[in-house]
């Protein structure tokens, strides 16, 4: 049973996305001309081309970072094609055409029916439910003045907003992969919540999922004006496959006075097979700028996929009384490697941050928490609480914590705690006594271990995430 499921999750998607027309794919390699070509193809304004070229200049001068606790063969950046026209996934006419194994995965995860169809690549126009749902949402959002569209659309329709905020949180020269992304990003999401508007529903990339594949260099920008609030969901629990091995996304959040942004991610990219062959390299830069007073930025992530995950969703707490939060569950199995955590940069007065990180490593995988809590001299009254717990399953896995704490004034309170535990024989025995089999017991223990994080997820996400976790770890205990 569990072996079948393992296979199922780790199986490459057979229905391949690579059906692009040759002429729409840029030749391999990266130079200024490739960037000009991307910009022209996308009919971008002059300032964006300049932004890209500047980023490219900066990237050329940078060295690939080697400090993360992950190992992989060197990436040849000249062997990647940096542009292909948005691809339409092959449309299927009904659910009957979908790979039955994929359907069983959905069943196991409890993915809602209309989502299953969308995820499996069934054409939207044959899913009656979904169409009505999506259009109703769009109308509702427009009514309150929220802009929610792809980055390409935003660049053409709202250039002044994009220009004002793009690259302000993560400057192009921030790091190697952010610079690369700034030079060659192809698409992503743009979201703008006007002053005083509380977004009436959770925004999700899922609304856009079936229109196109957003590519390996995704760029997301979310701006919440004064008093606005939004909850944004990225990714989904269903396994996602990609034809690209390197993914270097950039996500920027800007919260002005009294604004509130909640960003949730569930990442389940292809993780490679049980021997550690293949799988996605997920090198992401995510940062939120709590710019205004009383603003709040909250990151929640459930990281289960990718061969290598390398990301640190961060908060720069610039405004006085601003709040940063980070809740994370990272699961690694087989030969997966995850180096993830957060940075909380306290700049304003009376800023507060909370970090709750749960790492689970199984198989031969390595899971690292790397975090920074930095309190600037002027950030008086800063408060931070960090907790990072690791759970090891099996004796070949590794768990690591690298918490950096830097404090430069004496009115701040910083606490950091970490612990390591395992699923003990005695715990499983206790469950067995009460008639609960090992599989259910593990699922319950894991669920309890991650409860603090799952509570932060929107309801249906939380249910799916719970299922996803026990699913990922099946067969690794007992």
């Amino acid at each position: 049973m569990s072996a079948t499921l393992q296979n199922l999750v780790n199986q490459p998607y057979k229905h391949g996305f690579v059906t692009s027309i040759e002429s729409d794919v840029a030749p391999k390699g990266l130079n200024a001309d490739t960037i000009r070509m991307i910009s022209t193809k996308k009919k971008e304004p002059e300032w964006l081309l300049e932004f890209r070229l500047k980023s490219y200049e900066a990237w050329l001068k940078m060295e690939e970072p080697i400090w993360p606790n992950v190992h992989y063969p060197k990436i040849d950046f000249q062997a990647i094609s940096y542009y292909s026209a948005p691809k339409q996934k092959p449309k299927l006419k009904s659910m009957d055409e979908v790979d039955p194994e994929l359907l069983r995965t959905f069943e196991k995860l409890g993915v809602p029916l209309h989502e299953r169809m969308a995820l499996a690549g069934v054409a939207v126009d044959v899913i009656f439910d979904s169409v009505s749902v999506a259009t109703t949402y769009k109308d509702k959002l427009a009514e309150v003045g929220i802009i929610f569209c792809s980055m390409s659309e935003a660049v053409l329709d709202h250039p002044e907003l994009v220009q004002k905020y793009l690259g302000t949180v993560i400057p192009p020269s921030d790091n190697f992969y952010a610079a690369l992304n700034s030079a060659v990003f192809t698409d992503g999401s743009f979201c703008y919540i006007p002053k005083g508007v509380k977004c009436p529903m959770d925004l999700s990339t899922y609304f856009r999922i079936n229109t196109e594949e957003s590519g390996q260099f995704e760029r997301t920008l979310i701006v919440a004006e004064e008093g606005a609030s939004v909850s944004y969901l990225e990714g989904c629990t269903a396994p996602a496959f990609s034809s690209n091995q390197l993914h270097a996304a950039v996500v920027e959040l800007v919260a002005l006075d009294n604004a509130d942004i909640k960003y949730s991610t569930v990442q389940n990219w292809y993780a490679g097979d049980e021997k550690g062959v293949g799988g996605i390299y997920n090198f992401v830069t995510k940062r939120g700028l709590a710019k205004g007073v009383n603003s709040r930025i909250s990151w929640t992530q459930v990281e289960t996929g990718s061969a290598i995950t390398w990301k640190y969703p961060s908060c720069v707490l610039l405004g006085d009384n601003s709040v940063g939060e980070f809740y994370s569950v990272a699961v690694t199995n087989h030969y997966q490697q995850a180096d993830t955590g957060t940075k909380m940069i306290h700049v304003g007065k009376n800023t507060r941050s909370t970090i709750v990180s749960k790492g689970i490593s199984a198989g031969h995988s390595n899971n690292s928490y790397r975090g920074l809590v930095k309190v600037a001299p002027g950030a008086t009254g800063a408060r931070n609480y960090s907790q990072c717990d690791s759970m090891l399953v099996g004796q070949n896995s590794g768990a690591h914590t690298f918490p950096y704490i830097q404090v430069a004034n004496n009115s701040s309170q910083i606490e950091h705690e970490a612990s390591t535990s395992k699923i003990g024989e005695d715990q499983l025995f206790y469950f067995a006594q009460r008639g609960i089999d090992a599989e259910a017991a593990v699922s319950m223990i894991i669920n309890g271990f991650c409860k603090d994080v799952f509570q932060q997820l929107p309801m249906e996400f939380a249910v799916e995430a719970t299922a996803l976790l026990s699913f990922k770890l099946e067969g690794s205990v007992g």
Binding site: H400, T401, P403, V407, A408, N409, T420
Partner: protein, 435 residues
């Protein structure tokens, strides 16, 4: 990058200047060890902020100072240094600017225990110490340990034979008397199986100008041995102190260490502890600094084998514009099951300009382990201060008492009462002037 490289190289060359004049040792392996260390100094560079291990500790100031090895030794009288003596520790080895001072030292009587300077102990112990001297310290990747090893000709040597418990603590006193001098204190402690000993490693100064102490200590505990290691760094205010200590614990041995840092303009202490099966260690530290001082403690506790226990508590009290750094790494290697490891880093900032960088780090490759670490940074609790004030203490007295109590928790763990009193007094004085 290349520019700083050449500056570094030139600097290291000047430091090596006196090395060829060292007398050749009768022991071939020691000469070979020194030669290898000289080679390593040639390959390595002085670390900068770009090195992960040194990213919070800027020692560029050190490279600008014209330190040279000691040229003339100053002869001290017992009266000059008596105030450094520790009542309980009658056995004493004194090194002045890194040079052994026999007239100030007093050996140990009977029981077969060796407490001598290395030059005197070579003849009898060459074979015993060969597997340990220069082998426990990773000088091949550490430029300061390599420099020390390059200059290795004398050292404090303690060998405690099998099943002997030394009741009287051994006091190793390193005194700095000259400015612009770099000294290379070296200790080797070998506790054979079933033995027990208490050692005080003490760095003091009789002058206030700049000098550089580059120390290395190697401690080997064989099966079931017990070692109490107390380290007191009370160098002069302008001194530079860089020290490496490597401890290797064999099966079921027990290592208790308390390290206290009060002095030096810039100090750095690297402590590496390696544990075998069922070994136990308690590694505690206190840094009390103010003004422009920088105190950096890097520890690595390596659980190489199963069933070992390690406890660590490190505290920093930081006043003025001082800067404290702590990096505590706990490594649990594959197969080191049933490891029990606890680490805690507590930091007290007394002023607005004080600054702490702490990084408690866990690397775990075994699943059946109990590992926790914690870190806190904060100031005195205003409610606690208020409580004491409500009992009639002044604000200053209340703060002073709380600060003292914070530090006393570590000093309490020193098993020698006169030293404990001395250090507690120092903490009280320091905190009184701070507030």
């Amino acid at each position: 990058m290349s520019a700083t490289g050449t500056i570094n190289a030139g600097y290291l060359e000047t430091l090596l200047a006196g090395q060829p004049q060292l007398p050749t040792s009768p022991l071939a392996w020691l000469n070979a060890l020194r030669a290898e260390a000289v080679d390593r100094v040639g390959v390595l560079t002085v670390p900068t902020l770009r090195d992960e291990e040194w990213r919070f500790t800027d020692i560029s100031l050190l490279t600008k100072m014209p330190f040279h090895p000691v040229r003339t030794t100053i002869s001290l009288q017992a009266a000059d240094i008596e105030h450094f003596y520790i009542e309980e520790a009658a056995t004493r080895l004194v090194f002045v600017d890194g040079v052994y001072a026999p007239q100030l030292s007093s050996g140990i009587a009977g029981s077969g225990v060796t407490v001598v300077n290395l030059e005197a102990g070579f003849a009898a112990h060459a074979a015993t110490i060969e597997p340990y001297l220069g082998r426990l310290t990773e000088f091949r990747d550490n430029v300061f340990a390599a420099l020390n090893t390059a200059f290795l000709h004398d050292a404090a040597l303690i060998v405690v034979p099998r099943d002997i418990s030394v009741t009287v603590p051994v006091h190793l006193l390193f005194i700095a008397t000259q400015k612009d001098v770099v000294s290379y204190p070296r200790c080797l402690l070998l506790a054979e199986s079933g033995s027990a000993v208490t050692v005080i490693e003490d760095y003091v100064s009789l002058q206030e100008d700049a000098y550089f102490t580059n120390a290395v200590a190697e401690i080997a505990l064989l099966d079931n041995a017990r070692v109490n290691h107390i380290r007191v760094q009370r160098e002069g205010a302008k001194a530079f102190h860089i020290a490496n200590c490597a401890v290797s614990l064999a099966r079921a041995s027990n290592y208790q260490s308390v390290s206290v840092a009060f002095g030096a303009r810039i100090s750095r202490y690297n402590l590496n502890v390696q544990l075998a099966e069922e070994a136990e260690c308690a590694v505690d530290g206190l840094a009390l600094i103010s003004g422009r001082q920088l105190a950096d403690t890097h520890t690595c506790i390596d659980h190489a084998k199963p069933h070992a226990v390690s406890h660590q508590m490190h505290k920093c009290i930081v006043g003025g514009g001082a800067h404290a750094v702590f990096n505590g790494k706990i490594m649990v290697r594959q197969g080191a099951q049933r490891t029990d490891s606890r680490q805690s880093s507590r930091n007290l900032l007394l002023t607005n300009k004080a600054h702490v960088d702490t990084k408690p780090q866990l690397e775990i490759f075994a699943d059946d382990v109990k590992c926790t670490h914690g870190a806190t940074i904060g100031q005195l609790d205003s409610e606690e201060v208020f409580y004491l004030q409500s009992r009639g203490l002044s604000d200053t007295a209340a703060r002073n008492m709380l600060t003292y109590a914070f530090g006393a928790e570590i000093i309490e763990r020193i098993p020698i009462s006169s030293l404990k009193c001395q250090l507690e007094q120092t903490v009280l004085e320091q905190t009184a002037t701070q507030l």
